[in-house]
Symmetry: C2
Subunit: 401 residues, 2 copies
């Protein structure tokens, strides 16, 4: 007998029909002789509806009260799913985050899980109940309701799997698994059978958004085998685990990220410490910098370019402009009409020429590269946003045809 944790997102439980569909998946798994713990998010647009209600009353409400409000969303979905399981003739017990033992930090709206005390879950499993747990939420040491931030239900599921030494953690979503590229954009994209934690992490960071990043980090740390699969298609998904052996591909996927802006500071005086001072202005405002590119100086001047999240772009420019110009820089340029295209793959560590092959694909497609950044298992380039989809296709065809 195995212990299986299954997580279903908001679209998987958006109405009565979908809730019944999830109940069938869950009870099928239970009927095969497994212990089953189900983690659910709030139904469909519930979270957005609740946020709209709060905005109408007080857009500056305290984070504590926001958490109190939002946590009602999963409370509704766990009760409905438990009822659906009962309807199919099985015993179910729904548990709120705090009842399921989720102790978190008190950082409201973005709390981190301190520990999961799974006693009550185990007690219900021992009584042959299917246990339905509210994802996304927990309780602080003060006894206040907390939430883990968007996408936190994935993390809830992995945390339970880790605390209970589950045999498998299945993340049901609206895609059938992890693909080599976005299948809606690239016809030849194919579903991966397996992918390593590190590759999955790079893909998540790069905007593939199949799995929440914190959940993959936690799965890696506790060595929890994940499966990403669809709640509608009855097909095996993609297994995420430490080492993949089955497929020896150079790269596991091509990802696109359009939530990015490029800032260039032109004519920076070529003196020691100037880059440090510049970036400390940004870190003081908690703005993360991604790709950094510095030109080789000449005439005592150099140019420094970097990327930040588009949502923080204007703020970053404002934080730099006065200081840099008053310290000798010529100007600060801003461009958010850019996209970051990345290839990810553990295979590239041992194979030379992966980056070259990517650049060749872009050259063939006549796409200009603005910036380049590389890590052990990733190569990213910054290009014009209007050429992003064309670039993904060109690179995908180069590697997978």
């Amino acid at each position: 007998m195995s212990l299986i944790v299954q997580k279903f997102g908001g679209t998987s439980v958006r109405d009565a029909e979908r809730v019944m569909n999830v109940a069938r998946i869950v009870t099928d798994t239970f009927a095969k002789g497994n212990d089953v713990v189900v983690v659910v998010s709030a139904q469909g647009d519930t979270t957005d509806d609740l946020i709209a209600k709060a905005e109408e009353i007080n857009p500056k409400a305290s984070r504590r009260e926001k958490d109190m409000l939002l946590a009602a969303g999963e409370q509704i979905s766990i009760a409905l799913l438990a009822m659906a399981i009962e309807k199919l003739g099985y015993h179910a017990t729904s548990l709120l985050g705090w009842q399921a033992g989720f102790e978190t930090t008190s950082a409201h709206t973005s709390a981190r899980i301190r520990r999961v005390n799974a006693d009550r879950i185990r007690e219900a499993l021992d009584k042959h109940n299917i246990v339905v747990v509210a994802g996304f939420q927990g309780i602080s040491r003060r006894g206040d309701i907390t939430t883990l931030g968007r996408g936190g239900s994935d993390t809830s599921a992995v945390a339970i799997a880790a605390a209970m030494h589950a045999d498998l953690c299945q993340i049901y979503t609206d895609v059938e698994g992890v693909y080599t590229a976005d299948p809606r954009k690239v016809e030849t994209a194919r579903k991966l059978k397996e992918i390593s934690y590190d590759e999955m992490l790079e893909l998540a960071t790069l905007g593939a958004q199949v799995l929440n990043n914190r959940s993959v980090e936690m799965a890696k740390k506790y060595n929890i085998e994940l499966e990403v699969l669809s709640s509608l298609a009855k097909a095996p998904g993609t297994i995420v685990k430490e080492k993949t052996k089955m497929e020896k591909m150079l790269i596991s996927g091509v990802a696109k990220d359009t939530d990015v802006a490029r800032i260039s500071v032109i004519g920076v005086p070529n003196i020691p410490g100037i880059a440090f001072k510049m970036f400390s202005k940004l870190s003081a405002k908690d703005i993360n910098v991604d790709i950094i590119l510095q030109s080789i100086g000449h005439d005592g001047k150099k140019d420094i370019s970097f990327t930040v999240a588009k949502t923080r772009g204007r703020e970053a420019v404002a934080a730099l402009e006065e200081y840099m110009v008053s310290h000798g820089a010529k100007e600060v340029l801003y461009d958010d009409e850019v996209a970051k295209i990345s290839i990810v793959g553990a295979g590239m560590e041992s194979h030379a020429g992966v980056a070259t092959k990517m650049f060749e694909a872009l050259y063939d497609a006549q796409i200009n590269i603005q910036m380049i950044s590389t890590s052990e298992i990733k190569v990213s380039v910054l290009i014009d946003i209007n050429e992003a989809d064309k670039a993904v296709k060109a690179i995908h065809n180069k590697f997978f045809d």
Copy 2:
């Protein structure tokens, strides 16, 4: 400085505008130097919407899961009200039933409060917070979410007032107080300044439905002064307390109850124990009997008539028919086209002729009385349902003109 508990029903917080209105009432009370604990119900139709969702999935869902579902309703309203209070510049802390210390029995959907541990409420008050508590809900000793049944928020408010020795418990509703008759039906109906617990209890039982009965019983037990008033009109309401001294009226109100059916068993053999056996058939099915009338027997036969709630009427007939007829009764008659009209007043204890005055009013209006029942502070009559409003007016005019 006083401690005031204020309770607001679902219509009082049905949308953002109404929530802000409640926040103003609450903060006004706080600004006058009072400690304020607010108890709220779920917004407008939230409870009905949640019940509809459950019905769609599983009409026979377990009571435990129904409670889990419904408790989300107040969770939303307390968070929104706390946000509205914050918007007005005050500190607020919302607390769920279990956080506010409501320990209940484990009778899901109709739990009773065992005790209220108000430590957390007091702690928040000490930090100059307005405390917003979810009514209607609590937690069982097993740690499961429970609800008190419809109207339970009134009881929650009184229970907090009792546990904390509050100076006043205000029940805000959509009427301006307790009236001598339904003001929508009787133009001359007037608002009472005061009413005693016992009179209020009789009125509540009789269908006046201003206050939940359990809440009045609890207020009487712990001697909590209640005020019933409107959240929209800025006017004093009706005070409910042990002894009323201000007004020496014969009666405090005329009430109508149309949720009633009359059952008559004709030709019952006049032998000992037959009435006992008959009513034990009903109590076995948990059917409450109200007015009972037995004719004086002749020819060894008698007729027994009684009233039950209309919703249980057919069931009561089914429970009796076979047994009674096979034991010699002639037939069982059923009539749910009846109404119970009652007058209530502590004054009638010391004043003879109150019942006579009521009968006179009905005679003047040519209304036939089917059954009569009296208690120390109440006289009830059963009449044809089509004459109910006319009867209320006639009796009201007789006593209050």
